[in-house]
């Protein structure tokens, strides 16, 4: 039987003590990277350190962050989902079409918006269910399934939008707007939702049988099966959880621009996966943390934010700086592995 996690840690395995103090310290790895980056940002541009900028960054992290929380489960499970960006785009498109249609058919625009928001989550759950079903019951590699649906979801959005953008009617957009632009006690709604999702995710992962079983399957599927874990069911639920996260993210996304186009959600999958991995998970499954994921997501948007706030180098090289920073952060915290 292969035990890659031992493999990866063969060297460190020896040093391991009893109490996972080292492990706790390791969790702080990404935090250190984040703090270092923030200090750098503040030095380069004092505006970086402003409260408003912090809220901007957190707010825009919310979509990817929420999706990344779901992705964290899938990656811990030993799976992957490449379709989240397309899924978000398609859900956004469907929700917009639905709200536009419903406002005239349901009578109340507010009701239409609320129903649309609910639809967003339901669609996410359904798409996740389909993924989970194909992967768990159909026994197809998650990479293949979600590569396929990546194309399918985006194609249908493009089809519905006729290649252009689906746009929420103005009046409806105004009703929906507070969901993105509003505040709760001074904190933007998306940030509040992001935090909620992260907390729920962390509780689910660490405090429930489901979370434990996800980790068990990712660590060693055979052992989990022998230990009476209902592997298929847990897999399906995990992909559904990710779908629901995508639905929630989309629910927040729609009021931001009030539109969905074929470019919506492009490459979100890479960002979400990267957040999870930067946050300390292994692509092989079995390990990963929600806190790490949240920090990973914030870290990635802080890099982009700092680059936007400064003009240190040629615009062409922004992506390069981003690349270097990602590798450097991963290197700093590799001790953890």
């Amino acid at each position: 039987m292969s035990q890659p996690e031992i493999a990866a840690g063969a060297a460190d395995e020896r040093r391991e003590t009893g109490t996972p103090l080292a492990e706790k310290l390791a969790g702080i790895g990404p935090v250190v990277g984040l703090i270092a980056l923030c200090i750098l940002g503040a030095v380069l541009n004092p505006d970086f350190a402003s409260f408003d900028n912090a809220l901007n960054v957190l707010t825009r992290t919310a979509f990817i962050g929420i999706i990344a929380v779901g992705m964290c489960f899938v990656i811990i499970l030993g799976g992957i989902d490449l379709s989240v960006g397309s899924m978000a785009a398609l859900i956004a498109g469907c929700v917009i079409m639905f709200i536009n249609w419903a406002s005239s058919h349901l009578g109340s625009p507010l009701l239409a918006v609320v129903a649309g928001a609910a639809l967003s989550v339901v669609l996410g759950a359904v798409f996740g269910l389909i993924h989970g079903f194909l992967i768990a019951k159909g026994r197809i590699e998650p990479f293949i399934v979600t590569l396929g649906t990546l194309g399918i979801f985006r194609a249908y959005l493009t089809y519905f939008a006729d290649g252009g953008a689906l746009t929420l009617e103005n009046e409806l957009a105004d009703i929906y707007a507070p969901v993105y632009y509003g505040n709760i006690l001074g904190i933007p709604v998306p940030v509040v939702v992001f935090l909620l999702v992260a907390v729920v995710g962390a509780v689910l992962l660490n405090k429930t049988a489901f979370g434990r079983q996800v980790q068990a399957i990712g660590s060693n599927e055979t052992v989990a099966r022998y230990a009476a874990v209902d592997v298929e069911r847990v897999k399906i639920l995990t992909y559904m959880a990710l779908g629901i996260c995508v639905g929630i993210a989309t629910l927040l996304y729609v009021p931001r621009l009030g539109s969905a186009s074929p470019t919506t959600g492009l490459l979100w999958e890479l960002e979400a996966i990267a957040s999870v991995i930067v946050g300390g998970a292994a692509l092989k499954g079995g390990q990963g943390s929600i806190l790490g994921t949240v920090i990973g997501a914030v870290l990635l948007s802080v890099i982009a934010n700092i680059l936007n706030l400064t003009s240190l180098i040629s615009v062409y090289l922004n992506a390069a700086v981003q690349g270097f920073v990602i590798i450097a952060v991963a290197f700093i915290q590799k001790g953890r592995r």
Partner: protein, 297 residues
């Protein structure tokens, strides 16, 4: 000869953002209209996600679909030159749209968009409206030759107005979300901005959202590009004092190019070597002409 059936291939980029959505729409529209009008015309449309795929499709159009006329909107001028030349060598009549090939002998006709005007007009408009003095920021598209042409033209005009300062120009990838983020950060960074140039209406939509959210009153002009229907509508209805003008770069030119090519070929005629579809300033006075409510763009 006029009797020969015309098998016209249309090769365009896939509908990856709204402008290309418009191109797709108008190409399909042309197919519908023209095939209905001319029974001996067969139009085959192919959409490609990147230059390589477009080269593949050109090959297939030529060798398998056996087209004898081609209207191609190249992904990249340089990259598609040789593949288009191969189609022409196989005997097809080639009309190139928007992005000229690096070797003009590979095309029979060229229907050009005016990218220089696309960059020049907003710069002139901004300079004039600000009376030659103020701060401007720009949102660029995806790094491409055509984006460079537009930016260069924009810069060239600004050079004549030393008191207008271009604070920064970052890529927002012709994408609403990226434009929203970059704009947010511009707003954090620059306290005094007079005008925004978003080199595409899709990006302008993202920028407007961010500006409204930040509740910034210093911005007097938001200038997009290409004349999306919603933007034209805004100008037409005078809904937003910041948006009073746009520059046309209508995806409808693909319709015209297909129509011209098809009809010319059916008659066995050639097109003029170059047809330039001018980019003009859209403002309240002429916005009506640029409003296509059925198009996705």
């Amino acid at each position: 000869s006029a009797a020969e059936e015309v098998r016209l291939g249309v090769s365009i980029p896939a509908a990856t953002h709204s402008f290309m959505g418009g191109i797709n729409f108008w190409a399909n529209q042309a197919k519908k209209d023209l095939e209905a009008a001319h029974p001996d015309l067969k139009i085959t449309i192919r959409t490609a996600a990147n230059a390589t795929e477009q080269a593949n499709q050109l090959q297939d159009l030529s060798s398998v679909n056996r087209i004898n006329a081609l209207v191609v909107f190249p992904f990249e001028s340089a990259a598609l030159t040789r593949p288009v030349a191969n189609v022409k060598r196989a005997g097809a009549y080639v009309t190139v749209v928007d992005r000229g090939l690096t070797d003009t002998s590979a095309q029979d006709a060229y229907v050009a968009g005016d990218n220089t005007a696309f960059g020049r007009i907003p710069a002139e408009y901004i300079a004039k409206t600000l009376n030659g003095k103020g701060n401007v920021v720009a949102l660029r598209g995806i790094p491409t030759t055509l984006d460079n042409e537009r930016m260069d033209a924009f810069n060239a005009v600004l050079k004549e107005h030393p008191d207008i300062k271009l604070l920064d120009a970052k890529y927002a990838n012709w994408n609403r979300d990226d434009a929203y983020k970059v704009t947010q950060d511009y707003l954090t960074r620059f306290k005094e901005i007079d005008a925004f140039w978003a080199a595409d209406d899709d990006m302008a939509f993202g920028a407007i959202r961010a500006i409204d959210q930040a509740n910034r009153k210093d911005i007097k002009i938001i200038f997009g590009g290409a004349g999306a229907k919603d933007m034209v509508k805004t100008i037409l209805d005078k809904k937003d004092p910041r948006i009073q003008a746009d520059v046309s770069y209508s995806p409808k030119f693909i319709y015209d190019a297909i129509k011209l090519t098809a009809e010319a070929r059916l008659k066995g005629e050639a097109l003029p070597a170059t047809t330039t579809i001018p980019s003009t300033l859209i403002d309240a006075s002429n916005a009506k002409e640029f409003h296509y409510p059925d198009s996705p763009f």
